[in-house]
Assembly symmetry: C2
Homo-oligomer: 741 residues x 2
Amino acid sequence: MASSSSLTLSQAIFSPSLPRHGSSSSSSPSLSFSTFSGLKSTPFTSSHRRILPSTTVTKQQFTVRASAAVETLEKTDAAIVEKSVNTIRFLAIDAVEKANSGHPGLPMGCAPMGHILYDEVMKYNPKNPYWFNRDRFVLSAGHGCMLQYALLHLAGYDSVQEDDLKSFRQWGSRIPGHPENFETPGVEVTTGPLGQGIANAVGLAVAEKHLAARFNKPDAEIVDHYTYVILGDGCQMEGISNEVCSLAGHWGLGKLIAFYDDNHISIDGDTEIAFTEDVSARFESLGWHVIWVKNGNTGYDEIRAAIKEAKAVKDKPTMIKITTTIGFGSPNKANSYSVHGSALGAKEVEATRNNLGWPYEPFHVPEDVKSHWSRHTPEGAALETEWNAKFAEYEKKYAEEAADLKSIITGELPAGWEKALPTYTPESPADATRNLSQQNLNALAKVLPGFLGGSADLASSNMTLLKMFGDFQKNTPEERNLRFGVREHGMGAICNGIALHSPGLIPYCATFFVFTDYMRGAMRISALSEAGVIYVMTHDSIGLGEDGPTHQPIEHLASFRAMPNILMFRPADGNETAGAYKVAVLKRKTPSILALSRQKLPQLAGTSIEGAAKGGYIVSDNSSGNKPDVILIGTGSELEIAVKAAEELKKEGKTVRVVSFVCWELYDEQSAEYKESVLPSSVTARVSIEAGSTFGWQKFVGDKGKAIGIDRFGASAPADKIYKEFGITAEAVVAAAKQVS
Amino acid sequence: MASSSSLTLSQAIFSPSLPRHGSSSSSSPSLSFSTFSGLKSTPFTSSHRRILPSTTVTKQQFTVRASAAVETLEKTDAAIVEKSVNTIRFLAIDAVEKANSGHPGLPMGCAPMGHILYDEVMKYNPKNPYWFNRDRFVLSAGHGCMLQYALLHLAGYDSVQEDDLKSFRQWGSRIPGHPENFETPGVEVTTGPLGQGIANAVGLAVAEKHLAARFNKPDAEIVDHYTYVILGDGCQMEGISNEVCSLAGHWGLGKLIAFYDDNHISIDGDTEIAFTEDVSARFESLGWHVIWVKNGNTGYDEIRAAIKEAKAVKDKPTMIKITTTIGFGSPNKANSYSVHGSALGAKEVEATRNNLGWPYEPFHVPEDVKSHWSRHTPEGAALETEWNAKFAEYEKKYAEEAADLKSIITGELPAGWEKALPTYTPESPADATRNLSQQNLNALAKVLPGFLGGSADLASSNMTLLKMFGDFQKNTPEERNLRFGVREHGMGAICNGIALHSPGLIPYCATFFVFTDYMRGAMRISALSEAGVIYVMTHDSIGLGEDGPTHQPIEHLASFRAMPNILMFRPADGNETAGAYKVAVLKRKTPSILALSRQKLPQLAGTSIEGAAKGGYIVSDNSSGNKPDVILIGTGSELEIAVKAAEELKKEGKTVRVVSFVCWELYDEQSAEYKESVLPSSVTARVSIEAGSTFGWQKFVGDKGKAIGIDRFGASAPADKIYKEFGITAEAVVAAAKQVS
């Protein structure tokens, strides 16, 4: 068998369709392609990748339907395709069987589309999974991860070798139970929690559209790749997927191509029990182009034609609804929930081997399949080399743009960027930290080429508009203000996609702090998948006043302090806000949350960017010898209260230290020595004040200290009144300080 | 002006439409109603409520469109309607103006539909807001709460009097900044966080459909009311609303009628910037009946006709898209975001008064408007009286059903229900607490008439099926297993609606514990709005094993322990699971979360329902005098580890107390004396072990104790291996115990 049996596309178009195992479609070439396509999105042709010449395409020409089409993007001998597809199926079956854990059903059903994507359609370099201009693939139905691992293995990625397949879901394995970008190079994002992947894919496509619009030139299409995603019924049911697909339609993300694995089975059985909506009609209402491939099990040409059609529709994202059989090939378990999430069992594995005519040992990749896939290594290297040459040309002609793009690609921040951060003195005007945040955002956008973001319909409340830029919209994708609408969960997950597209893309997103409850699923994935998203969360306490308890965060600070790998900042004034932004920008593998006030706060003496970057630091102290009578600890808007209480106590002759705890996680990272210098163990008289749950504060105030906070829901009233009624006052701090010291 | 100028419906149908202020619709009576309606949903006629005779209705007869219809459900003199509508507008304007805070735009735009609902359509008794068979109204766009407060005021609810309107959004007011059921009788649920209200409304409609199917008899339609909801563009963008509307369509909730206030404005400006989908087409794809009222500002008859049409469609929920002008009447601010969320300002209030011809002082309700609305007090009382008589009849004929329904209506639990809870001895077989939970769920469903619930497509993993019941579906709504699909957020909010429908409805819902991140918005509203939902959350730690860190909760226990008014249970075995359920059922105003294991756990000696109900209690102790050498504290699956470690330490001659901390919140409620008996202050040698974040544990282990836990993300591997690698072992407890004692 030849290692590259591709026909040229022009041949393929006019050849009759090749015989296919089990195909039920009757297809004949009956379409004219005289005005068709222009895959201007595929500018590099390697010896095995032939494309049609680029021509202008208008919308109404795309009447070709998948079921009637026969052209192939890349036609290979049908037998090797079938064999490759079965290899994918059995690698999944075998790995799940060995682990006695996992989800064989999806890989068995989706192997055909997976094969076509990785073998025929996608541009990638297996030896450099991070090559910038690669096509992105997201398995939103992450439980089917063995599909992606099998594909990465066949494609030649070093991250998934035979030993890895044999250690699926085991301690120390490089291929965990769901796709994790931080474990497996070649995996773009972290999926498993349903709906996250399609949202990430929207973010990846936003990044591509934005960068292409900003950096491409008439003579240099330097940014040009697709985002492919497979999602299942579970993803479709999740609200987040409707949020992001509504945005994808609104933004006209033409290079986003989603495969909806329509297999009618979810964990509880047939989707009929809970999911009877018309998904295709819904996507049309959201502004998507929709194609239905009725035979996703063996209809290879239909799949190819659908992808071709999808690529040709440039002003809309495309959903290819592709009807498959979950567990295809398993004679007794296919098309049932029993094949979704458990190993088939030795007997059924055997039956499936017989049914699909698969005589090989577990984990075996037949030589002809290996040989067939082996071309992707040189091809991928060639693609990258060509792109590098193209980029070198680009750099010569467009030095400034190239420098910006390079910074985005590498994640290397422009020298001296941090000098743009504003600083403040106690004489600077009092202001809400949400306003101070906006000063920082606008300062950073001037110096960081990859800085972009927006709000969930609260830009004017969150103060997140970048004043020098317009809105990222369908026809102005070069702009940097994203308008997410009231879609918090989708917003967070889209930002994860943007952040993971390129190391130098630094997305921020915003809503009221209390509505992190709506987006916590995405925020946890930011933390887990090392996506350095900046969460700008205003209206951070009862200080927002009249909107009342539905809008007033109480437990939110504690809830994020307990979450791994996320920085929870609560800055007290301008300097601390700038300090929080400095760290947030630097920490590209750790997301940051900034809890910001709606109400005005004074610029305090003793605050600093450097202090804030340590997480906890001394703001003022009138003692000597590291032994004050009492330590008062505040965060955010309550640091002012601690300072006022300290003034009172000093008047009474006490020595008082005021400590700002702007970010617990950063403080935890400091040396024991530093910590002892801030919170000496000998001083047990400690009082903390924070307009939020006291949960967790005992860690810093200790057994003998006192935490002042709010362990009930808020109330609807002017902010000052609530503070007073809830006892978040300097008087309460003074009283507590006397009690504990 | 007459206090009741209603025409009979038969008159109204054949009268020409009355002149209306500013109406732009040209409507003429051109429809035949010979086979129409049958408002069998309005069985009680008072002197002012006339209805058409009930006839059989078939689907194809409902071709009447709102724009063409002129019939009214309840026709009153047009001038008084207009005056009433303007009263609503100005009550909202004046209250927001006085508070200098709030959202006047929605009430000004939605006053016409609000008027028609409360004055002409809805059944309620203002003097008993809790009358069981009332129609339910939900303002999903909760920021527009002044609309609802104005309506409750006019309708005669004692909860909203003139003084209340004047104290809008002030400390101690009965009418807070967003609608809160626990503050304002007449408000059914708590809204403000967008999308929650429409989801609650789906829950209310589920409750009605279920109870009607279970309790109605051919000769006694004892359960029969509608759920009305107003939602805006913001609600529509939220993913949760798509989740629940997909379910509402699937379930065919014909008595759910949603008004989509299509005003094209959200906080960031025109909805065009982020929301260009075709909402009506989306709802049709979800299985809804959709009607468009093009003139929601003055098209009263169109609104009436739409409601009539909606009521006639019995197999689908209806969305009435009703195009309005936000801030209608304000000459300079209408139709702009500036009228959304701030007071108009004195000058614009004046201009609006002039524009709408409103000569009255702030907060004035004209006498004729007052007089017009005054009929609702006697009418409402009559409705309830009639229903009570009907129920008395029902009780005579159907004693058993009546007893069940009474329990649901009153919330009084059947005597001795708690005897149904299973108990266990150390000899009972080891089992996963998710399985033990299922035993409890099935035991409770037998004795609690209002117990129902389900899972977000994980019934077979969460073990939540009630075996003696079938599925609640469109055509089997009398059943009690709810199939939510993969829609966690919607599930939680639907359960809030069910719980708040009737005190004796006890909904439970289930998913993996980690996916509380998807539904936290709804869970917080459970806690705030005192909806006693039971959250059955399985796969509660790294103990789930191979699915890996995306599925392994770490910070979730801490994050809920920090939330007010919610009980976070982590039972260790069968007795503790039963104890958790006992409390969860009893606490009707506090939601409960049960974190349950996937893996088998032994039945431990010393555990009990009574102990669990105290939150923290001694499981074993070989010391005397309340002074053990060391106290080991465990929860859930780690209590077993604490017990094993204690055995080791005892072998070495130590006195050891083992304490189970199944629910921190319940422990906090115990007396100081009890707490001292469990955790004596003199014993500082304390070690806690829990397979989750250590955040917050210092509260119980103290400065000198040690908390063993997991402060990183999990890993994909068999559970035993992860426990060992993460140091969640008896050996680690023994070592720590030696270190601290």
